[in-house]
Symmetry: C2
Subunit: 243 residues, 2 copies
């Protein structure tokens, strides 16, 4: 399915519009729906009935992409998975993020800090997949530590342990795609609201491509020159490719 994309610059404008005074969405609302949609994509791609494995490693970055990951982990637990969250650089600017962490503790979901041994969960015998919620469309290179080391570890295991990237695979150029020689190649990409230009690089990579974040009307999509996606029923994600 061909799809329109919006550049990182336009995506930032789109987010400001959605949360601006006229439309009035709150970060809490959009993050809840976005994180839920990522969890639903994981469930569709890795149905619990198809495997005895239930563990999911969620890597959460310091920004809004990380917040989507924190929400995703909670919904995964409600679906029957056993998520473990690695959150090396907690967001200290927005108080809501510490609430998201409290919610994870309420669900008995382990949240590892920077010094804890997260690589023990890179075990394909027990882990279904790794959710890459490190950085999103506002990421600018270079990758700083500890994220560079995390990406190196992911690159080593990605052939046996699938990576599910949220909106933009971490380390990719949002508009250009995988420009570094050691870029990670996710098995699943969940674009949020509308794919970013880098998503057009994945058709040749056998990556399963979903779009989630079902919260804009057709007229608004048209303003940003894309068509609404063909969501079915109450689904919060729709698979774009392969069909």
């Amino acid at each position: 399915m061909p799809f329109k994309t919006v550049t990182s610059k336009l995506a930032a404008q789109l987010d400001r519009d959605l949360m601006g005074p006229e439309i009035g969405f709150t970060l809490e609302q959009l993050m809840e729906l976005a994180g839920f949609s990522v969890a639903q994509a994981v469930l569709k791609e890795y149905p619990l009935a198809a495997s005895t494995k239930t563990q999911v490693l969620v890597l959460a970055g310091p920004g809004n992409n990380g917040g989507d990951g924190l929400v995703c982990a909670r919904h995964l637990k409600l679906f029957g998975f056993h998520p473990v969250v690695y959150y090396p650089k907690p967001n200290s600017k927005t108080p809501f993020f510490s609430r998201l962490v409290n919610q994870l503790k309420f669900f008995n979901i382990p949240v590892l800090n920077v010094d804890e041994n997260w690589t023990q969960f890179l075990d394909s015998d027990s882990t279904v997949c790794v959710v890459d919620a490190l950085f999103g469309f506002s990421f600018k290179p270079p990758v700083r530590e500890p994220f560079g080391s995390i990406l190196q570890q992911l690159h080593k295991v990605q052939d046996r342990l699938p990576i599910v990237s949220v909106d933009v695979p971490t380390g990719w150029d949002v508009d250009e795609g995988p420009v570094e020689p050691n870029s990670i190649i996710p098995k699943v990409l969940v674009s949020l609201t509308v794919p970013k230009p880098c998503a057009s690089k994945i058709d040749s990579l056998e990556t399963q491509h979903y779009v989630g974040g079902r919260f804009v009307p057709a007229e608004f999509a048209h303003k940003y020159k894309f068509e609404p996606f063909p969501y079915e029923n109450a689904d919060q994600v729709v698979k774009l490719s392969p069909n």
Copy 2:
């Protein structure tokens, strides 16, 4: 399916727990998930493919039950329905409610004020159902105007136009059920988090009973002496009866 219920008093305590400092849910998060679950119940009960009708009348009260209705209307629009909202007494205490109204305007969903003619939408030729999001578990009688007149109108049309009540049918005693002679009888009840005692009265009324608001872990349910509900996949509602 037999189910445990929690009294209005315990339900209030449960909500305070969920939004307290320890667990840290925000009203925005819980309302988004609750409203979404009601919309999903409407879609399951009245699939769009089964009818040419798409209009849904949402009656939103001044409190949190009304907020769930405002969120529900937005998701109904995203699903393909054409909701119309009657919101006679806007919530003036919590600024988030005016944001919810802005979001409806963004979706081109009509929001009628107290003086507008909402009864024109009580037309079973074009309206699929009426969502009763007027009052929830914290309602205390008596019903004041304009809500008494609204309930009278609903009572008149309920045999030809199904009512979907959110958490508690408006006018019912939360713990005792339909105590007034002219109580409305919904065709669908969507209990939120856990049914309130009045829900045990509906088995004899041929009301379809769903539970939604999928946001508590098993341990928390046990604290309130109910069992987690058997949600499937990523569903945000589960049908309790009839099976």
